[in-house]
C-alpha cells in the first residue's frame, strides 16, 4: 500500500510538471512575444525592452521555465504585471472566495443528488424515477450562468432576499456566506443533475448483484439491503464522478464568479486574460490544473478505502 502510494505520488509530480510545461509552452513559445502580448497596442520598442528585462524575458525559454518552476516550488509566483503585487498573495486572497464557493457547491450537489439518485433507483421504472430523470435532463441542459441570472431575478430583484452579486469580505461573517449561496446553487445544479444520474445507475447496478440476493435470502428487508449492502458498493462510481466534477466546478466558477461579481480565482484569471497579465494567467492555470490532478489522485486513494479489493492488487 505504502510503496503503491509513493509510486503514485511520483507519477503525480511528473504529471504536474508536464502540466506546467504545457501551460508554459502554450503561453510563451507559441507565436508572439509575451511582452508584446502583455503590452498590446501600446507597445513601443522601449517599453517592450523594459518589460522584457523586468520579467527576464530576454533569457532563453528553458532557463525561464526552470526559474518559473523553481519559483512555484519555493512559493515565489512572481509579480503581477497589472496589479504590481506578488501573484502569490493575489491568488491566496482569491482562493478565500473560490474554495468556500466550490466546497459549498459540492456539498449542495451531493446533498441533492445522492438521495435523489438512490430514491430513483429504489423506484426504478416508476413515476418517481421518471421525475428524477426528467429533473436530471433539464439540470444538465440549463446553462449554469443562466440559472444564476434566474436566481438573481427571483431572489434578489423580485423577493429581495439575497444580494445580486459582489462579496463583502469574510470579516462580515454571515453576509459573506449569504453572498455565496446563490452562486453555489447555480454551480451545484448541473453537477447535481449529473451526479443524480450516476448515483441512480450505480445503485441499479449494485441492486442487480448476487450479494443483494444473498442479503435478501438472509432475511434483510429491501430497505435494509439497500442501506447495508448496496450503497457502499455504489459509492465508487459516485466518488469518481464527484472527483471529476471538481474540474467542471472550477471551470464553472470562472463563469459564475463573473455572473455574481465575486472576487475569486475564476474572475482573477478571466480579468488577467483580458488584461493580458500572462504572469497571473500562467500561475492560476497551473494552480487550477494542479488542483484537478491532486483531487483525482485523492479520489484514487479513496477507492482503496471504499473497496478492500483495490487495496492489494494494484500496479
Amino acid at each position: 500500500m505504502l510503496s503503491f502510494a509513493i509510486r503514485r505520488l511520483l507519477g503525480l509530480v511528473l504529471t504536474l510538471l508536464a502540466a506546467a510545461l504545457v501551460v508554459f509552452i502554450v503561453l510563451e513559445v507559441l507565436p508572439g512575444d509575451p511582452a508584446a502580448v502583455m503590452l498590446g497596442v501600446q507597445a513601443t520598442p522601449e517599453t517592450l525592452a523594459a518589460l522584457r528585462a523586468e520579467y527576464g524575458l530576454d533569457r532563453p525559454a528553458s532557463v525561464r521555465f526552470l526559474a518559473w518552476i523553481g519559483g512555484l516550488v519555493t512559493g515565489d509566483l512572481g509579480i503581477s504585471y497589472t496589479y504590481r503585487v506578488p501573484v502569490g498573495g493575489l491568488i491566496a486572497e482569491r482562493l478565500a472566495v473560490t474554495v468556500p464557493l466550490a466546497l459549498m457547491a459540492i456539498a449542495l450537489s451531493t446533498a441533492i443528488a445522492l438521495p435523489l439518485g438512490v430514491f430513483a433507483a429504489a423506484r426504478h421504472d416508476r413515476p418517481a424515477d421518471a421525475a428524477v430523470m426528467g429533473f436530471s435532463q433539464i439540470g444538465v441542459a440549463v446553462p449554469n450562468f443562466w440559472f444564476g441570472l434566474l436566481l438573481v431575478l427571483l431572489f434578489s430583484i423580485t423577493l429581495g432576499w439575497a444580494p445580486s452579486g459582489g462579496f463583502p469580505g469574510w470579516s462580515t461573517g454571515g453576509d459573506a456566506i449569504v453572498a455565496l449561496v446563490l452562486p453555489a446553487i447555480s454551480l451545484a445544479l448541473p453537477q447535481a443533475a449529473i451526479l443524480a444520474r450516476v448515483t441512480r445507475s450505480a445503485v441499479l447496478d449494485a441492486l442487480g448483484e448476487d450479494y443483494v440476493r444473498t442479503a435478501r435470502a438472509k432475511g434483510l428487508t429491501r430497505a435494509a439491503t439497500l442501506r447495508h449492502h448496496v450503497l457502499r458498493n455504489a459509492l465508487i462510481p459516485v466518488v469518481t464522478i464527484t472527483g471529476l466534477q471538481f474540474s467542471f466546478l472550477l471551470a464553472g466558477a470562472i463563469i459564475i464568479e463573473n455572473v455574481f461579481y465575486l472576487p475569486g480565482l475564476g474572475r482573477l484569471v478571466f480579468q488577467a486574460i483580458s488584461q493580458r497579465d500572462l504572469i497571473v494567467v500562467r500561475d492560476v492555470v497551473v494552480l487550477l490544473a494542479a488542483m484537478v490532478i491532486i483531487i483525482n489522485f485523492a479520489v484514487d486513494m479513496l477507492y482503496a478505502v471504499i473497496d478492500p479489493r483495490l487495496r492489494k492488487r494494484r500496479r
Binding site: 448476487d210 450479494y211 442479503a215 435470502a217 435494509a224 447495508h228 458498493n233
Partner: protein, 321 residues
Amino acid sequence: MSILEAEHLAVSIATETGALPVVRDISFRLDRGTTLGLVGESGSGKSMTALALMRLLPEIATATGAVRLLGEDLLQADEDRLCAVRGDRMAMVFQEPMTSLNPVHRIGDQIAETLILHRGAERRAALEEAARLLDRVGIGTARARLAAYPHQLSGGQRQRVMIAMALACRPDVVIADEPTSALDVTVQAQIVDLLRGLVEEIGLALILISHDLGVIGRLADRVMVMYGGAVMEEGDTRTVFAVRAHPYTQGLFAALPSRGARKGKRLAVIPGTVPSPDALPPGCPFYGRCPRGQDVCRENTPPAVAIDGSLARCFFPGPPP
C-alpha cells in the same frame, strides 16, 4: 409432518404476450435429515423453483400453488413474515460464492449480520458465534478469518463461508443452488462431504440443486429430474438412477463422460439445445428433443407412470432400448 411441502407449485413470468410458465406443477415433501435433489440442464427451472420456495423471485415472476413450511403457506405470507423466515427458518447457498458475498464487508460481519437480525445478538457475541460456525464448516484459524474480505479467500473457502452463513440461525431447511459448480473438482468433493455431514449430524433438510448427476447421486435421498420447468422423473435417487424410465433421464446419463471414454471420442449428447420457455410445446416440454416423441406428446400433459419404483411423466416410459 414434513418440514417443507410444495403443492402444485408453478411459476410464470409476465411478458408482453402473456404469462409464460417457467415452472410447471411441482409437488414434493421434505423431511428433517433428508436431501432432495433437483437435477437438470441449465434453463430447466431448477433455480426458479428454489427462488420461488424462498419467495425471492424477480418482480416479473409470480408463483402459484402452495409452499408450506411447518404447515404455514409461504405463498400467502406477507413481506414482514417472509423476512422473518428467510435466513432464520430457511436459508440459501448460491452458486457463485465470489459474487454472492458482499465484496466490501468482512466475512465475520456478513455471517454475524444474520444472527444480529434474527436473534437480536450483540455484535461481539454474533462474531463469536460466527467463528464457531466457520470452525464447523472446516475453515481453520476461524477467529483470524473473521476479519478477512471475500477476495482474500479461495473459492472453496468462500463457499464454506456461504454455508456457515446459511447455518447461522440453525434453519430447518437449506436450499443449495449449484453449491459446487463453480469449484475445482477436489474442492467439490470436500463441499459435498461437508453438506452430507451437516444433514446427518444436525438433521438439516437440504434441497440440492445441481446439473451434476454425480453430486446428486452422492447427496440426495430423493431426486426430481427437471426439464422445461416440469418434473420428468422422480423417486428415490438410487431407484431413479438405476431405472432411468424417462427418455430425458436416459439422455442425461448418456451425456456423462464414461470412465472409459478416450480423448477424441465424442460424448453422447442430447440432440438440440434447451429451448426458451416461450418455444416449449403445451404438452411434454421434452417433445422437440425426445427420440420417442409422438404427436400425442406435443399437445397432452404426459401421465405419471411408476416403473420399478421410479415415477416418470411420459407416454412411452421404459428402460433404454
